[in-house]
Amino acid sequence: MNLKDLLSPFFVWQRAFEKPYTSIRPTIDRPGAPAYRGFHINIADTCVGCGSCHEICQNHAIDMVAVEEYLGREGDSGLRPRFDYGRCCWCGLCVDICTAASLRMSNEYAWISEDPTVFHFTAGVDDKPWQDNENGYRRAEGYHLYPPKRIEMEMLPANESVSSFEEVVKGYSEEQAKKEADRCVECGICVATCPAHMDVPDYIHSIRDGNYEKGLQLMYRTNPFPATCGRICTRRCESVCPVGILGEPVAIRWLKRLIVDQVDASDYQRILADTITENGKKIAVIGAGPGGMSAAYYLRKKGYAVTVFEAQESAGGMLRYGVPSYRLPDNDLDKDIDYIVSLGVEIKYNTAIGKDIKFEQLLENYDAVFMSTGLSVPSSMRIHGEDHPRVLSGLQVLADVANGRDPGIGKKVAVIGGGNVAMDAARVSRRFDAEVTILYRRRISEMPADEEEIHESQEEGCRIVQQAIPVEIVSADSEQQVAIRWGEAEMVDDPKGGRPRPVLQEDRMHTDTYDSIISAIGQGSNLDYISKEMHEEFAIEWGKFTPGEYQHTTLEKVFVGGDFANSTADAISAIEDGHHAARGIDRYLNPAAYEEK
């Protein structure tokens, strides 16, 4: 022992004059750090209830509970996370995975109670003192638990695509598809939004597993046109995909396409194994479009003898005659249709109802009739000179091309309209080397056509003139040409709160001359085959049906579906209409089977 060691500890007194460590009011003085992982905050209006937080929680601390006010919102499951603070470990994985970035944490941390059953709350719904706390943990910029960007799709470059009818989209490779499928969070919100309620997460899962046969089976449960929908579906599923809120939505359409592309048509019979037990009843389907063929498929599966009446020489309806083959090649459409036909569905081509066979006859000869003749008549522009021979309809141009005929559009074309048909007509015209101008009443951002379509048509060299209102068609100097007088429009806000209206500016009129003008401003239905009395009985308004439950009309035997019976007028809705009508017809003809339920 030496003296130094004995004295050294007395140094401790020096500390008596230093600032003490002790915090005076410990519960007040020091809030959690700005990024502290404290109690949860959920912005319930932003949350879509995808359940990813529930999925990732290793402690099963999060329940998804129904909150009435959010049910039925577009792209919202109506569920909200409910936290069990007898389980939560404040790891923050739920915040990290939150697809909508609605979930975060506050920096509050004290919750004391004598009752162990109170530590539950639905964040953002139940009133908690920390709900408005601005601090707390949030996911850092640049930190992701799933890839936010989608796998780039390879496309034909615009300069090549414009000169051929080859399919523009090349499709994913298997490896790319697996990566893209990996991004799915399997919430199933898309299933509710998809008109056909396809089992999207399940078939995406089958891609991850590389099990395309299972994927195909899953798709056929709800949609007998997977090859078609995998290419041209309006994919409302992608618009609600939660992954798309912060990043890009999962490329559901391209994944669907991959499954079909991976399976050879000759294997369909074996994989789908649709066994048919005839039940002796006969159904007539009018129109071999997606709606009619879908109904035919599901009815056939239930054992009905199905006859499809089609006015054209091939099946497919708008898919064949309205969609150009660079978007939907014929053999892919045939892949879907051929399988349906292979199950024993009879199609009577070139048979127009009302002309070749009376509608009443069908009612008499069949146990039920499903009508799905769609919208096949181009709408009129309602301007003077519209009947000029150089004014063509978009539908007609597309049908001519589909049938291999020269549409005869010339080299300088104006397309009127902003829908998909207008875009298709414009792009088809480009493929016939025409110089294309698209005239649209409103702004480009308001075009009803797919954003992709608009973008691609611009890429391919179509010029879009927005806020252009056609006023009159006038004859040109040459008979091979036609002139259009149009005026610029200003967008005027609707005082009633509707969308802004274009108003013609009389002082800014133009007259341009074209080889032809393609009008594509919409279509109406052709219901001439139905007698006038029946028109009334069906309560048809503006050429459209409003079917009841299970697509049932007021006429006992008649079910309707497709573009003339729904508001969305797209293929996938028609497919669901057909499927749903098939359910309805089965319920109608075979009520005994449903009585128990």
């Binding site: 060691d5 140094f11 700005p34 990732i56 890839p147 990996d182």
Partner: protein, 399 residues
């Protein structure tokens, strides 16, 4: 008197063991003779580090047999991990060693990354290195307090535990939590440094340096501390390998082994530091060595702050963790924690769940085989100080 292992009470450890140490268990004593007393120390005992118990057989106040009992903190982590996904596990592992969770996070993440071939960005490497060193600093500060407390120096315990809290404040700022940071995640880290962190960290490092100087004067130069710790629980060099002794416990007898230098991981090959070794291998030497390593920590944290890239990615490209399948593989990764080699052995089978994880904590040997051996022949009053001196954390034994 004659004791098991052929030692006498006057010289606690004979240093003449050859490589073939006798690991035989001591013969049970005849309790009925009334000559011996059986005494349980722990699990409820303030002098026990963590939650374990020692079954002591005493002759007077001299320990003649010591049996350790663990399992009070057993939660079955290895089983739980087998039924949680790869991302979920990273939140579980930190609970394995409560005072030092970060090493678990790092090693678990590193094992997953190694098997799945993920390369983490440079910034994440530095953030991880600094995180680990901050953890080491906090852990050593707590340990110094524990060692002081075990020998009656509560002043030092008050200083270091309070100061450790400042380091925890830094953690809170950086990671969002005080104890279970859950910051190092497979693929990188969860966030960069918050604004102004560097300045505050440097301030706290300066203070820590000053504190350590004071502690050296008050605790290490203290006659009482010296008297009680010098010559206590000497680990002879021959024991090192047969008993699997690692870390400061091994370095204190001159064994120059430190994973940070021997098999550098993260950014340690770019940092400037030396392995600290000692010679005497007693409780005092180990304590002093740890004090020096604490100083080293401060220097390493400063170096990290100096050299760390302040922007750029901190997370590698990750698959969707909700259905993350790690390819089949097997690996053993290790890091130098405050107690020595901490390791994760991981076997995967290509599914979404891990097949097997084994966590190797240094306390596994230090607190059982080594402790049982060193305790014999010592005074019961020194048991607490001895346990702390071996720096054992029971939760990493039983997991």
């Amino acid at each position: 008197m004659k004791l098991p292992f052929g030692r006498t009470t006057s010289s606690p450890i004979s240093t003449g063991h050859s490589a073939s140490l006798d690991f035989a268990q001591p013969e049970p004593v005849d309790l009925a003779s009334g000559k011996y007393v059986k005494l349980w120390q722990g699990p409820q005992h303030p002098g026990i580090t963590g939650n374990m118990s020692l079954e002591l057989t005493l002759d007077g106040d001299t320990i003649i047999d010591c049996k350790t009992h663990v399992g009070y903190l057993h939660r079955g982590f290895e089983k739980l991990m087998e039924r949680r996904s790869f991302i979920q596990n990273f939140t579980v592992v930190c609970r394995i060693a409560v005072p030092e969770p970060t090493f678990n996070e790092y090693l678990y993440s590193h094992a997953v990354e190694e098997i799945s071939g993920i390369e983490i960005p440079e910034r994440a490497t530095w953030l991880r290195t600094m995180n680990l060193e901050m953890m080491r600093l906090a852990s050593f500060l707590m340990w110094i307090g524990g060692q002081g407390g075990a020998f009656g120096q509560y002043t030092v315990a008050n200083w270091t535990l309070a100061y450790r809290d400042y380091v925890l404040d830094l953690f809170e700022e950086m990671t969002g939590a005080r104890i279970y940071h859950m910051y190092i995640v497979p693929g990188g880290v969860r966030a960069g440094l918050p604004d102004g962190f560097e300045g505050r960290a440097r301030e706290i490092m300066d203070g820590a340096e000053k504190l350590l100087d004071q502690i050296e004067r008050v605790m290490f130069n203290n006659t009482v501390f010296k008297a009680r710790s010098k010559g206590l629980a000497i680990i002879p060099p021959e024991m090192i390998d047969p008993y699997g002794i690692v870390g400061p416990n091994a370095r204190a007898c001159g064994v120059k082994r430190d994973l940070r230098k021997d098999e550098p991981y993260l950014a340690y090959d770019q940092l400037d530091f030396d392995i600290v070794t000692g010679t005497d291998s007693d409780a005092y030497e180990r304590a002093y060595l740890r004090l020096q390593e604490t100083r080293q920590c401060i220097s390493l944290i400063r170096q990290c702050l100096d050299r760390m890239p302040m922007d750029g990615a901190f997370q590698a490209d990750m698959p969707n963790v909700l259905h993350w399948k790690v390819p089949a593989g097997e690996t053993y990764v290790k890091a130098e924690c405050t107690r020595g080699e901490y390791g994760y052995y991981m076997v995967t089978d290509g599914s979404e769940l891990v097949r097997r994880v084994h966590v190797r904590g240094p306390s596994y040997t230090h607190a059982i085989a080594v402790m049982e051996r060193l305790a014999v022949g010592n005074n019961i009053a020194d048991i607490a100080g001895m346990m702390v001196s071996l720096h054992t954390y029971p939760p990493e034994i039983e997991r």
